[in-house]
Symmetry: C2
Subunit: 456 residues, 2 copies
């Protein structure tokens, strides 16, 4: 590799090989580089170069590169490629993955790619794309092995040997046993096929009445199912009880991981659930403003409460010091309650209707924590200004507002879940606006009520 | 089941069966209930009753119940049981899971349970507990099948048949091929054993030089490995290249999911990464105060900046309205940058040393977003009070503080990662304190500088 030290920064090596158009060396180099290094280096190339690189590589190698990239970036690259190039790459993916990538694209980007795919792959992808995101049907492998009840171990093994090549992509560990009508009767573990005499009929070694899952079952149901059972996979059935695919534990675990990562990002105000600093600046800015914009409006509404109490503030300017503290601390307390509610809803140990449970569990805790925090802040205010009434106003306001914040924080996710709004995204702004307004109102309202005592 | 309608609330049915001490009916009832319902019902029983229930059930049934409970709750229950009862239940777990549960317990709780376990189970658990949490060694299955290079397909299948019962718990899909010295030479897929002629020697059908992973590799490395490769599992080797276990894709995905859930909770101020409302009130309160306590102190320090500018505030009371807005909006902007840095670090596309990249990527965006938000807030201030200078002060302060917040938010997780502090837990408070102080200082400092212009 003349002029290219292997010690060189991967980004420079890749840029140089891309410049030369040496697709074979490029493919070899990328394949040997640890996956995180591939992503790290490529995300530092100009966006156009990333596109050119995928066009230059053979589809199989390009598919490998897409696997190394963060999901959001892989989707962006597919969107930018010609439909034919994208189809050639997507065709290298496994069936389920192909459908999931295509489902992530806008319709106008997905349709030309589907049209350029081999007919059978396109039909299979379309079928799977019809399922709701993260449902059993969306996450399952639609390719599976199935045999009629009467087949013997020997016959099944012979069929497997004869079709070894074709079945290789099925990632075979199970086969289903079906009735003549196609209804799921049992599951054969590959292990049992190996370990049992060859004359045994399938019906005898199958696990009958297997646990199965409906294709429309949502992710929460699926995570709870796999928590309960130690199965590696379960059959997926349609409304008529016909087997339509196999859902693997790892597909569920990976989807749950992605959802948790997305929730983390949304909670922090990354609206789409993902941002990479390699994205165009304007796109990053607009996405962040989509969160900041509504927030600044809500903030102004909340702060307008302060404006209404201008006279009180003028009389006791020290109150201005405590307003941000009360607002911030109430936000913290409320966010803790939000997180616990979201978590309990995900685990299934809290139902979206259980308002009373949350009310009492959070109310009790709010009184406890509110008293402690209020006493602390009140004492500081008292000592600072030597005015007990000021301490009582500030401490009382924080105590009351803490109770209110944890109640609201605990309950808002339940309400949002019932209205099918994502609690990770919307709970924070709703909570903060309400607790800010109430906090300001409590501090300034209480102060106004005892103004003669504190404006000394 | 006299007097117990099957329509009754599961919690009441369970309480009644527990009261009667009818362990068989209880076990059957719990086994038939969907797992989320089991957790939902049990978490609504008094804590003592949950303990009594586990003592009453046979260890196998109790182990099933623990699987249905949230992890944190299952750990708490094991802590409360007698060591003998806990050992009998833990003994029903798979080996890896047993080690992981025991590793989660305090040493003083784990030791008596280990002492009460069968010697071989205890030794295996101790060996696995020595690995760092979420490393390959911690997550792997230590039980695996291995054969010498010379064995044939026929011999291997015969061994598998002869030992079917014993191997059943291995969850067999792969076998390793080892050298005489125990070094990993290749991997045999069970599939290939089934599909190849029986006289073929293992060395010929094994996948040679398999991708393997060191036992001390951390979770980030493991998630990136499985993103890159489509393997179901990879062999784990020690420093000498000897096979010590098999790491499955789903174990990695499940660990990554748990970590993401924990990060979500920590970001919201649930310090331990988990809270359930079924925990004792005092424990919940103390855990939340562990986060709120330091926060209120930091808040007071930040607000002390306001106290220093009392004169300016007295002259322009309207400034008190804008202080919480600037503080809150800067916090929002900074948290977005924090989330993106944590995410990029996890994905491996950002290294903890890349301060300059973050500086420029966030700086540019901060100038853009700061200008837009500052202009908006400044315009509102101007229009409200009809004072252009006031608008300039407030808008300029928000613009500058936004730049500062995104820089700080982007960089703090990198610094924390280098000092091995969890960025999800510590970034928020550090960020908010700094941006609050700077925000207050900018608004009031700028106002003081042009006081004669705005105090009309």
């Amino acid at each position: 590799m003349s002029g290219l030290s292997t010690q060189a920064e991967p980004r420079r090596v890749i840029a140089a090989l891309l410049e030369r158009g040496d697709k074979d060396k490029l493919a070899t180099y990328l394949d040997r580089l640890p996956p995180a290094e591939v992503a790290h280096a490529l995300l530092r190339l100009p966006e156009d170069d990333r596109g050119r690189l995928l066009e230059l590589l053979d589809p199989e190698d390009a598919a490998d590169v897409l696997h190394d990239l963060p999901y959001e970036e892989a989707i962006a690259r597919l969107e930018d490629l010609d439909a034919e190039d994208a189809a050639a790459i997507v065709s290298e993916f496994a069936g389920t993955e192909r459908a999931q990538y295509l489902a992530e694209l806008e319709d106008e980007d997905a349709e030309p790619i589907l049209a350029a795919l081999p007919a059978d792959e396109a039909a299979a992808a379309r079928a799977q794309m019809r399922y709701e995101e993260n449902s059993a049907g969306y996450l399952m492998d639609a390719a599976f092995l199935a045999y009629p009840e009467g087949k013997t171990v020997g016959e099944i093994l012979a069929d497997m040997r004869a079709n070894a090549e074709r079945y290789a992509e099925f990632d075979v560990q199970y086969a289903y046993v079906l009735s003549a009508g196609g209804a799921l009767r049992g599951v054969l573990r590959l292990r049992d096929l190996v370990l049992r005499p060859r004359a045994t009929p399938a019906a005898e070694i199958m696990l009958p009445n297997p646990v199965s899952v409906r294709a429309d079952a949502p992710l929460d149901t699926l995570t709870q199912l796999f928590d309960h059972h130690s199965y590696i996979g379960v059959p997926v059935v349609d409304a008529d009880g016909h087997a339509v695919g196999v859902l693997r534990r790892r597909a569920v675990a990976e989807a749950a991981e992605e959802r948790a990562e997305g929730a983390f990002m949304k909670l922090s105000g990354i609206v789409g659930g993902e941002e990479l600093r390699s994205m165009p600046m304007l796109q990053r800015s607009l996405r962040r403003l989509a969160w900041l914009g509504p927030n600044i409006v809500l903030n102004m509404i909340a702060a307008s409460v302060i404006a209404a109490f201008q006279g009180t503030l003028e009389a006791v300017i020290a109150l201005a010091v405590f307003l941000p503290i009360v607002s911030d601390m109430s936000g913290c307390s409320g966010n803790q309650a939000v997180a616990v509610s979201i978590r309990e809803l995900t685990l299934g140990v809290l139902k979206p209707t259980e308002f009373l449970r949350v009310f009492f569990k959070e109310g009790g805790l709010g009184i406890l924590n509110g008293t402690i925090l209020g006493a602390l802040l009140g004492a500081v205010a008292w000592l600072w200004k030597g005015n007990l009434w000021l301490g009582a106003v500030v401490g009382g306001a924080l105590a009351l507002n803490t109770v209110l914040s944890v109640l609201l924080g605990g309950l808002v996710p339940l309400v949002l879940r019932r209205f099918k709004v994502d609690p990770a995204l919307a709970s924070g702004p709703i909570l903060t606006t309400c607790t800010d307004m109430c906090g300001f109102f409590l501090v300034l309202g209480l102060a106004s009520a005892v103004l003669s005592r504190i404006s000394l």
